[in-house]
Symmetry: C2
Subunit: 477 residues, 2 copies
Amino acid sequence: MRRDDRGVTPQSEDFSAWYNELVTKAQLVERGPAKGTMVIRPYGYRLWELLQAELDRRIKDTGHENAYFPLLIPESYLEREAQHVEGFSPELAVVTHAGGKELDEPLIVRPTSETIVGEMMSRWISSHRDLPLLLNQWSNVVRWELRPRMFLRTTEFLWQEGHTAHADEAGAMAETMLALDLYTEVARDVAALPVVPGEKTPGERFAGAERTFTIEGMMRDGKALQAGTSHYMGTNFADAFQIQYTSQAGRLERCHTTSWGMTTRMIGAIVMTHGDDKGLVLPPRLAPYQVVIVTIGRGEEVRAAARELADRLRAAGVRAHVDEREHLSPGYRFHDWELRGAPVRLELGPRDLESGTAVMALRLGEEGKRPIPLESADKILPGVLDGFQAYLLRRATEFREARTRAADTWQEFTGAVAAGWAAATHCGSAACEDDIKAETAATPRCVPLDGPPGSGACVRCGQPAAYGRRVLFGRAY
Amino acid sequence: MRRDDRGVTPQSEDFSAWYNELVTKAQLVERGPAKGTMVIRPYGYRLWELLQAELDRRIKDTGHENAYFPLLIPESYLEREAQHVEGFSPELAVVTHAGGKELDEPLIVRPTSETIVGEMMSRWISSHRDLPLLLNQWSNVVRWELRPRMFLRTTEFLWQEGHTAHADEAGAMAETMLALDLYTEVARDVAALPVVPGEKTPGERFAGAERTFTIEGMMRDGKALQAGTSHYMGTNFADAFQIQYTSQAGRLERCHTTSWGMTTRMIGAIVMTHGDDKGLVLPPRLAPYQVVIVTIGRGEEVRAAARELADRLRAAGVRAHVDEREHLSPGYRFHDWELRGAPVRLELGPRDLESGTAVMALRLGEEGKRPIPLESADKILPGVLDGFQAYLLRRATEFREARTRAADTWQEFTGAVAAGWAAATHCGSAACEDDIKAETAATPRCVPLDGPPGSGACVRCGQPAAYGRRVLFGRAY
């Protein structure tokens, strides 16, 4: 990579170009040959693995078990739930030939697995003793995208999809909210994304769901990104696939089901929430390398000291990396790790070794460079990383709060959604939502779970407000 | 599940029926709706996750990085390596329509990823400094199967595929053997499979490989199962995809590449190596539940003691499970955990509590039941599990050795491959291999890496022997 190749367009000039250039230049991802597909490079995939581990542990700790369902689903399965097939049919990829022959029935490359899971649940559940059935799957799914963007909208993406069956609505709704809580916690505590959990308005529901909940994050251009969703399906899929059980009283009852998913889109959310004109800024809990030690000069002594320091940091639970690329200048390498978002850089040269210190530079903040003693670096850095993690969350929270405005008039509304989000009362009609979207490009992101009560007139049409509280509106990815 | 549903056909009566019934009844897997696809149920998937973790750690420890490449590959990519496309074309699943339209170029659902990885390597590698490039991917692949069997031959399976690029043959061959060593170690030390590592004869090579290495396991019916393969590709894929680098001397050189894979087939190998007429026998290192505590009676006191014991076992690093299904008889539950292969069962009832003991029963071996003190169970059981793990490996090794015979005559050969494996000298001709297969159904499994030297005449045709050592022949899955 030549030095002049590494710069990215400033956010203020063209946020979209900034993003597209950055995810490639930071070696997170590259376009695949088939339209809208992505190659997730090791640096991006490691980030995904670290996120997976955090989410998977929480999914297991709450009693769910992982399983694996087939990629290829008979077309007829999707047709059994009317809304579901209507929502997904424009996005499907279809296998028509296999093993050298045309198939009798085309197979769909799964866009999501409710139908095949529903079919299996109907075989596995017979008694109330089989409930709740709490399953999760880590997999790839395919949804044809006309306007793909790496991580945000791709023809194929990676995700987990939880699928659960319950005896009644109360059980299924508790599960729906539990999944939403897990997502909120992972986004906030792991990815440092101060997401707003809330319910989607009816027009934004998942195809086949009774209720859809979401976590919404604000990107640094003020737009919203849906970072995870959790759906209460009612008995829609139980009806379509005959998921039934015999109750304690001996009656045949239908199950209530849920599904919930979080995807590689989260990587895009992290890039757009924390990144700046120098490049990525990775939250320490997900950074492939939390601390990068850049050797200065060509001495074997420096390399040995850097490796020894990295080993001590690793023993203290820090993901440390030594950059020994001596054919590149230190300045080049400093820029490189800023581009790739390493939270902490340690510079180590012969003079530092003499004084028994390394020069520490944080990726963000006003602290500037400062020397730290080599001897106690493994004691100091875990705290520095925790502080950096907390700083990112605080900074993103302040940004979101500054760009979210209560809008009581249409003028306030248009001003708010031009720069960020508007919290406004809304009538709840789909036609009015469409009207707002046509005028401002903003859509209802969610009815926040813990938003303050709100009533009165719709900010757009003046009809009585629905939901009993303000709705968050914003332009969205 | 009714009691009479749980029995399986004895191995001696019909090994194939035994296998098919067992993998379903033990809740490892179930047939998917599309031909040859499988639903991996939580008990089977947990086994896979535990195997994954062991293999993934070793892959990372040896310097490889995980990445993710697209599922859908343009048809033209596969055509660039002639042997590769010839080998795979009968097995391909083809996406012809997507997003509601017919595609200009059909997309192949990946049967393996050499081609797409090759394309990306050609973009990522330019200098000798970029080598070796050591990548691995965990993914699903699709190969159309006419005669599917759960785990062994399925239309879709899960696997890891390593893909690496090197400056020269020596580097690539060292990598090929490193991967084979990892597989041998994981099979032996984790899955208790005493596999034989060796090289495939030319007729059994991977499509597009210069050399193919394999680990071969012996199942309890004497048949062989290929449990992992590692391929040296020479410059075949580098030629097809122009994977090139500039050497230190400034010359443009072609890379030498490798690929290697281990799949969900390993689950089938474990079932068929250790299982018996009562059901699965799982090696402790992969058993989802290493110790199952079965409560006897309906007392709250017993349940509380069982849970407390399970917690102590978990704290000692043991995967413990409490079976509190009090609506089922203890005898039913004992049989159930024998069917599902839990290495150790602890029976805990009111009388046991009084004496401060639990009754321990191992899934295999001549020890019978014996009481162990509750107080020290967490000290005793890790050792018991290690002993059980070692016992499984020893037993399988003895079985393999007893069923492997040096065959110097055709009569000895046919006798050996009727019950197990023959170690015989062979001329190396493909026609002679075909002839042996037509006569006996046996194929050359591998030329063992550490087999004793062997020379003389071919056991079948009398021509001079090739390879300098005996070849293992057997019927195979």
